[in-house]
Symmetry: C2
Subunit: 223 residues, 2 copies
Amino acid sequence: MTKLENFYNQIKNSPVFFGMSDDELKGLLECFNARIRKYEKDEMIIRQGDMISNIYLILEGGVNIEKDSYWGRRIIISRLGKNDNLALSFVGSKDVESSVDAIAVEDTLVLVLSYEKCTSMCQNACTRHKVLINNLFQILSKENIELIQKIENVSQKTIRDKLMTYLSNEAMKNHSNRFEIQFNRQDLADYLNVDRSAMSFELSKLQKEGLISYNKNRFELLS
Amino acid sequence: MTKLENFYNQIKNSPVFFGMSDDELKGLLECFNARIRKYEKDEMIIRQGDMISNIYLILEGGVNIEKDSYWGRRIIISRLGKNDNLALSFVGSKDVESSVDAIAVEDTLVLVLSYEKCTSMCQNACTRHKVLINNLFQILSKENIELIQKIENVSQKTIRDKLMTYLSNEAMKNHSNRFEIQFNRQDLADYLNVDRSAMSFELSKLQKEGLISYNKNRFELLS
DNA sequence: TTATTTTTGTTGTATAAACAACAGAAATGT
DNA sequence: ACATTTCTGTTGTTTATACAACAAAAATAA
């Protein structure tokens, strides 16, 4: 069931609505005309050029943020999952259209809020809006830091260095040397901005040299 | 003179304080313990690992946001100038230390505000704080979008494509095919993540082929 | 189960970029 | 004005990666 009520607890505990009372949250969901949308695998949620006036919160599933480069090269900016927001920066920047695509990589449920509608109505006056904007500020901060980390990943010189930087960062995020990655090989290559086959080869080499071990999407860093 | 009063108009019109009344701004500057700091060329304003509890606003000069990669490679994340903010995302993310350096590339004046001090005092209650956080949200949005653009720049396959993508984006920002870039050649190479000499060679080639023309830091895109 | 499609790994070859070393130009200091 | 330092452009060589083509494995469908 994709009813709002079924996800109420998850929504209440998501970063966007963190710190709100039940009353505030309920009022806000109503005021923002909250509804749940379902996207199938490979469906486009946002496309390059769209004007974004909604806040999107992923309730279930996974989403790739991608960009098609001038000559058809696919760049994966990031992979988002449960409790992440989509395209928040394009909500914050008035009159800027999305420069990226958001694509469901599996069946995905998204909570959609009409941000503009509400803010124009309440003129930023209500207390719940104050809490919300505070949360949005913090969420964007985190996104920012993760984009910087992505830049670090892809800015390494060799495929080997990109892989090791990426895997180290993932290990850090998971507080463990054993972790699962979300990307398949092609997506990881598009994220690290390298050729898939060359990357596969380098992964094997790293394993043979005893630096890492992996099986499918489970990786382990061996110091 | 580096007195606050001398920069009052510039501060008032900066994105951070946009939309505030004189009274609000004056109160806020006091409450946030605003002061101006001067940094010499090549001086570090922020270093990797610092905890950031201040809002920094560049009044004059230029700043590189950099990161030293694992084996001493320099990565330039972005170049900031007048009216830009430093390290805002690390203010928004509690308990996260800076993952980047901020380095003055020329003599630079920075307005410094003790963000934490004030927010803990006023408990987000004052109206000026509400306006501020709204502005910060928008500023971070823009930063986010620019980071995505940087990712696009460095994610091109060849040096030539990186250069053309970068130059096109600069032309777009300047609303003109003739524009000046802020980077010198070494900095541009570190920004695009390529070897300087190879990049210089490619620039010459582009000029010989009639795609661009340049003289020092002035570029022109010839369609 | 078997057949089909998708994903992942392997290899050889062509190509682009890093690197090193240097020369000339421009900027800076004295 | 001169000396010195910094910046930019040029070239040859080495090295890493993209690309293509294919094989093996895994996942999915029939």
